[in-house]
Symmetry: C2
Subunit: 240 residues, 2 copies
């Protein structure tokens, strides 16, 4: 049987202007190859509704899977979700489950879920959410189009959320530990932890906030009990 085919759509003026060098294409290409999915085409378009709609329609009709990257943040030029809804001819609005995720996330962070952030809960009708263990705001799947964030660490975490669903593997559960410490401090104990838990996948996604370095440690596995026990161990290990 031939491998399933895929295309990628990278959305963002910052790539086309040369300000930012895209990293997601190369990452996705490697992941899909590993999973036996053939990436056949990539397009990069600007933050322009007509351009996004045209590309989504063409790629969605031509390939088994389409992955998009970028344009799902809180600012006015993040028009990917609306453009995907338009491409499929469905409505879009703030969805309760997505809003609840964001509400809990910002409450934990002591921040307000303002109008701009609430934009990230706008989901096209009929879509399925894609888990974002790094920064919570979800991606989504509509039809055969998987809509992911543009920030590389979030993109990569979302790829890990969605890929097992496409290749018949068991869905992975995830737990996230957010620490206000840089990766350099954590790398040693984290390596030991990963080596002691070969059945779990351990990822570290660094960030910077108000000038302070932090890391989201995302642990994935198939067994909820094993995951919970591992997270307790990890917290103890990294609190040291």
């Amino acid at each position: 049987m031939a491998n399933p085919t895929a295309a990628m759509l990278v959305i963002g003026d910052e790539i086309l202007s040369g300000r930012t060098r895209d990293a997601n294409m190369h990452y996705l290409a490697g992941q899909l190859t590993t999973r036996g999915i053939d990436l056949k085409e990539v397009r990069v378009v600007s933050d322009d509704r007509d351009a996004i709609v045209a590309a989504v329609k063409a790629l969605s009709a031509g390939y088994a899977h389409v992955f998009t990257s970028g344009g799902i943040g809180p600012t006015h030029d993040d028009i990917t979700a609306d453009s995907i809804a338009a491409a499929f001819g469905v409505g879009i609005g703030v969805r309760d489950d997505a809003r609840a995720l964001l509400q809990a996330h910002y409450a934990r962070a002591g921040q307000v879920l303002n109008e701009a952030r609430l934009r990230m809960a706008r989901i096209p009708d009929g879509a399925t959410l894609i888990e974002n263990p790094v920064s919570t705001a979800p991606g989504f799947t509509l039809g055969n189009v998987h809509v992911l964030a543009g920030v590389p660490s979030v993109f990569q975490a979302m790829v890990a959320s969605i890929l097992p669903m496409l290749t018949g593997g068991a869905p992975l559960l995830s737990r996230t530990l957010c620490l206000m410490r840089g990766e350099g401090d954590l790398a040693g104990p984290l390596g030991t932890f990963a080596a002691n838990h070969p059945s779990l996948s351990v990822g570290s996604y660094p960030f910077q906030k108000d000038g302070i370095y932090g890391s989201n440690i995302v642990v994935r596995g198939m067994d909820a009990g094993e995951l919970d026990a591992a997270m307790t161990e990890l917290e103890r290990l990294l609190a040291a």
Copy 2:
């Protein structure tokens, strides 16, 4: 007046499989932005004639300029030139001026212009050659499509050859000095040379051949006499 628009077509299975990370898109994006040309879309397709033809037709019709990258080497899977000819409905064959360039190049290198290398002189009817000061085998322009090599150093040198033609600047002349020494040896005197000749553009393109490091030094300028004098100085400087 609005800026002219452009699109890029990256051709190559090695990008889509994740084996190679594309570097040309980011480079071209930066160059076009500097020159006031708006890069509006990029597509990446595999070494597949139908895919290349379809993309060339769509992009050529939609944008003022199209730049392609990859698939113009000597091997059987280098099908870009034939695909471009097919997209424009014109013939293709070995062209005398391109053959003469390659003949002189391989004669200098003491190598044979065999059947495979001669493939690189296949140029669609009606095309204009694009100079390749790094490795000789030329690119070409057909209609509004500029066909460039995939190897980043050659791609960059070809971009420098073609861009002034598109933006109304005076065409640049070039001289190339090929040295079997690594860049590390040359960087010091080359920096001094470049500083002493602010009206010339000086580029260094390293390569490896039979395990030995070499560099092509490409010097560009508008005045042939100035260039020739500068090359004599450069040879004396780097022979030391």
